[in-house]
Subunit: 338 residues, 2 copies
């Protein structure tokens, strides 16, 4: 089920829907969260929209969802454009469905077919999943509010978690530079590489080799795949952290499904390792801390805007732009006015 | 002059240098800023390092630099990997030097040859500029402190500005997803495209067409360049904002320098437009506000860490991870403890 935009139960106009939602007030949120928990896709979609739009009812949503969160396994997929992230996401989705899992997909990648941005072939593949009632697919769009995706994505994860997803796949692009730090969100981060996409040394420079719990060399039927595996292995061996967890390298051809079972097995092994070592709950506490911090900072930022009807930040900005004040001194004044 | 790392005047050890710097205390910053203003490259390099490392003397640096800032023209260059950002930066640098300008380059792109990450040919080209006393080249590396590049880059701009750069080029990658929002930093943002890098529609989706003041279709000697120009033009015409500023499209072959004069002319026209309409100072005030806000938020974030020796955020994180508290309620408690 594609959880994008289709938010009306009845064929009412947008205006009516909004009006109805407002007039229902608090009760509507209680209903929505209950319906989302029972897995109703429209309720899930609506809750994620509330989250994305930073709706005032967000707090109530969060409060009601909290007791039902913490169950889902969160798997991040990342890699440079062209390595086959979306095809791999789709192949994993198929595998997880065959294993009977309820799966959520969050695409935080503007070039992803989940976000409607890519090749027709990919989109057709996604359509298969779109008719599956135990699959939620959602693309996250930065709607320009404070904090953007970095802030909305963890909340969307909570919605899918509370909605009973066993596994949530987050697909994102641009390791290190990305607005959404997938390694910070996921229990297991899968880094995808492919032959012909630049050598392993470049990947290392981009920091991609610091975040992978599992590596998949996709398009493994192409020339150069073994070289990518070798390069990767030597870099991983160099950086092996006391043998605690040595990230496995799996070869896949996501297009045909080849190697996807191995990938799933590697992810499961990592998951077991996290549980055995207590690292799973440590990661989740860390994630929660970051989330709290992001919300607190967003709240403070909103307060800056409210100080004297924007006047303070306005006039401080003018002073700094004119060179009459340095930005640190200006920040001190802003904080003093809080 | 490459302003990377070479920070010692005398061949002393790193340890000695650090020691000396500390013992000199305040006086050292006064000296450094004076020497930077007179254009001494080592002083410039050292100040940028202080900024990157979030040194405690940062505040004094900012205070001393403030009266000397606001002069430099700031030009941002961005585009997908492979469009020729670094070659274009280098070509612009050559053109600006021929026009007698003192130029600073900030590379906020891990794949840039300025950051040491790319092809040998590019690096050789950069070397030419590295021996030029009126060129400062600096790659920004995220050193993992709070706020990262988003926070350090504006401060590095201030250093180069105060050091008497007429023009500062910021090269960055990953529009929309990038940690450093080049459009927010620059007076003029140049968006680079190239044939064979995906069509104009994808560029539009990625938001790249919302931030360009000037577009350069690089590698214009390759097949498909005219199509990129046509696609781009139709999208730009669609989004034309009341004819206020219609972003020009320039064809370049940065490798040979072809079209670089046209690009410089387009940038100058945009600059003149900004001055005529008062938009230049509006942009700069906006930039200053964002800078103040980022500093204030970083300060607050540091305070979160100090609350009860990390204990508060720690225990709140554990509560949220366990589903006993929602992250909004946790953020409220954190803010109440501030």
């Amino acid at each position: 089920v594609t959880a994008d935009g289709d938010e009306t139960d009845a064929p009412t106009s947008v205006r009516e829907t909004v009006g109805r939602r407002t007039s229902r007030g608090q009760r509507s949120v209680a209903e929505l969260t209950e319906r989302a928990q029972s897995g109703e896709p429209r309720a899930v979609a609506r809750l994620i929209s509330l989250v994305e739009d930073a709706s005032p009812s967000l707090r109530e949503v969060a409060e009601r969802l909290a007791p039902h969160t913490g169950r889902a396994q969160i798997i991040g997929l990342t890699g440079a454009p062209g390595v086959g992230k979306s095809t791999s996401t789709s192949a994993l989705l198929t595998g997880l469905r065959q294993a009977g899992k309820r799966v959520g997909v969050l695409a935080v990648d503007p070039s992803s077919p989940f976000s409607g941005g890519a090749l027709l072939g990919d989109r057709v593949r996604m359509q298969e999943h779109a008719t599956d009632a135990d699959v939620y697919i959602r693309s996250m769009a930065s709607r320009g509010h404070l904090g953007g995706l970095a802030w909305a994505t963890p909340q969307a994860l909570r919605v899918l978690d509370a909605a009973g997803c066993d596994v949530i796949l987050i697909e994102t692009v641009g390791v290190g530079q990305s607005e959404v730090d997938v390694a910070g969100l996921a229990d297991t981060t899968v880094v995808l590489l492919a032959p012909g996409m630049g050598d392993g040394i470049q990947a290392a420079k981009a920091g991609i080799l610091e975040i992978g719990d599992v590596y998949a060399v996709n398009k493994a039927d192409r020339e150069g795949a073994d070289q990518v595996v070798r390069d990767l292995r030597s870099v991983i061996n160099l950086g092996a952290r006391d043998g605690v967890w040595r990230p496995p390298i799996v070869k896949t051809v996501a297009q045909t499904g080849e190697g996807v079972d191995d990938l799933m097995e590697a992810i499961e092994k990592h998951r077991a390792h996290l549980e055995e070592t207590g690292e799973l709950s440590a990661r989740r506490r860390r994630r929660a801390r970051r989330e709290i911090e992001a919300i607190a900072l967003t709240t403070l930022r909103e307060r800056f805007g409210d100080l004297g009807g924007h006047a303070d930040l306005e006039s401080l900005g003018a002073e700094v732009a004119a060179g009459r004040l340095d930005p640190y001194a200006a920040a001190d004044r802003l904080l003093a006015a809080l």
